[in-house]
């Protein structure tokens, strides 16, 4: 599903003394089946933005078009349909758990949306496996799990809806490095093999750059730029200025230029291309 933002403003508590402008004049497109990362520092409006994607918040002015639904203006029925088609996982989703067993927790969404429970139950083992758990968890109480496991269960409870769009707010915060890598691989798999549109909100530039097709850089509620990770290297100075750390690989390119005198001409700087360049240089007989 394609998602189009047109001149979107969002204001919290408008016309009160506590009025707060969170988003201002956003216009951009999230193409269907793209992996889009939304990056920006804390308070730049990322979370407000992603809640526009399934109508939890609706623009104060401007429009958001998700597939064939236009916001603001959708009635409650199309809105619910929209929420089924756009799965949203909040930051710290473990705070939403409430059922007696993991199984019931996973079936909560499908029940609300009126899906065929027989079919959904058949998918349970697969979904659990996807998030790195196994079937033995089904009958356990979610409150006996560790923080990381709870997060995975909460994530699975949205994945089971099999939504066309998956919106993830800092899904890997607080996980160990291995768990983090697993989940990012899962999101990539869902995007590449299952054709899901994935929107990842993060302030980790490494994750964004390594996975996304498109980067939406937010600064103070405005769009700073919409770019591909490839072109990020050209903007590395600007990143620091808006409170984002440039990815390590890009920093390393700078280091190579300054200290080793390596000229960097490639348009991409990932861990792979950088190490390739280093290997090439060593093979060519560099002694530094």
């Amino acid at each position: 599903m394609e998602i189009v933002f047109e001149d979107v403003d969002y204001i919290y508590q408008p016309n009160t003394p506590l009025e707060h402008v969170a988003l201002q004049g956003l216009s951009f497109t999230i193409p269907s089946e793209f992996f889009t990362a939304i990056v920006g520092r804390t308070g730049s409006g990322k979370s407000t933005l992603l809640q526009q994607l399934n109508g939890l918040l609706q623009p104060t002015s401007g429009t958001v078009t998700v597939g064939d639904t236009r916001l603001p203006g959708a009635k409650s029925k199309p809105l619910k349909e929209l929420r089924r088609r756009v799965g949203l996982v909040f930051q710290y989703p473990e705070h939403q758990l409430f059922e007696e067993t993991v199984k019931q927790e996973l079936l909560f969404g499908p029940k609300n949306f009126g899906l065929d429970l027989g079919q959904v139950e058949a998918k349970l083992p697969q979904v659990l496996q996807d998030v790195g758990l196994d079937e033995s968890f089904l009958e356990r109480s979610p409150f006996t799990l560790s923080g990381g496991q709870m997060k995975r269960v909460a994530l699975a409870s949205v994945l089971i809806l099999d939504s066309e769009v998956l919106v993830l707010d800092e899904p890997t915060a607080g996980l160990d490095p291995v768990g983090k890598k697993q989940l990012l691989q899962l999101f990539r798999y869902l995007n590449e093999e299952k054709g899901k549109t994935v929107v990842l909100v993060t302030h980790n530039m490494e994750d964004a750059m390594a996975n996304a097709d498109q980067l939406v850089v937010l600064n103070d509620g405005c769009i700073d730029s919409v770019t591909s990770p490839k072109h990020l290297i050209e903007k590395r100075d600007q990143l620091e200025a808006i409170g984002l750390a440039a990815p390590e690989s890009i920093k390393f390119v700078d280091y190579m230029q300054q200290t080793l005198g390596v000229n960097w001409n490639e348009d991409e700087a990932t861990v792979d291309t950088v190490s390739q360049a280093l290997i090439k240089r060593i093979k060519a007989g560099a002694n530094k």
Partner: protein
Amino acid sequence: MTQSFILGQYIPRESFIHRLDPRTKIISLILFVITMFVIDRLLIYSLLYGFVLGCVLLSTIPVTYLIKGLKPVWWLVAFTFIFHVLFQRDGEALFDVFGFVIYDQGFIQGGEIASRLLLMIVMATLLTLTTPPLAVTDAMRWFLTPLTRLGLPVNELAIMMAISLRLIPTMTEEMDKIAKAQAARGLDYTQGRLRDRLKALLPLLIPLFISAFKRAEALAMAMEARGYQGADHRTSYRQIVFRTMDYIVVCLMTTATISIYLMIR
């Protein structure tokens, strides 16, 4: 969802009312409520309305914000008024509507009681809108201090009150987050039969309670880790001070209350 309701919120401003000592404001509020309950004349009610409006204007809080924020209260006030008009059986019968005989006393008493409710809520809201919650706690502690001799743990009560007040906005925020997370999983508690709606509250309340308990535990531990050992013999960083203006306001309020009382006797 919870954004529009302003009961218990504080809005920082630089106004005459904001600068008053919290004790002054609480004493004034109590005097105001006493006055409201002893009077029975319309003329004095209009005086009280004027007083409340004056206070609101002095506080520089936009009137529209107050009106919008107290929306649920308007319904309560309107309901009270209509209830009295329909069911009051004193005084002269005026006319009847659909079998209900309407008496003139119905209007008068309905107006009185609705006004009391309205004025009291507006004044109490004004107190919290213009006073930081911690200042209210300090004032309460000051009022209760004489009771320490009777063995009342005033300091403990004050710190409990401070913590609860502090946690209200946090819990509201938490509630909002949970409600959104469940709505994203298709929960809808605004539609359907009453029974279904009540059932739909469980997915909101259970996580809220759990997080409240966890938060309380973490807070207790953090306090202990920083050497908290009961609230006795603690000094406070912010002192509340009674200024000249506070003496003037308290004197004026007391004089006004007594003279109104003498006038109607």
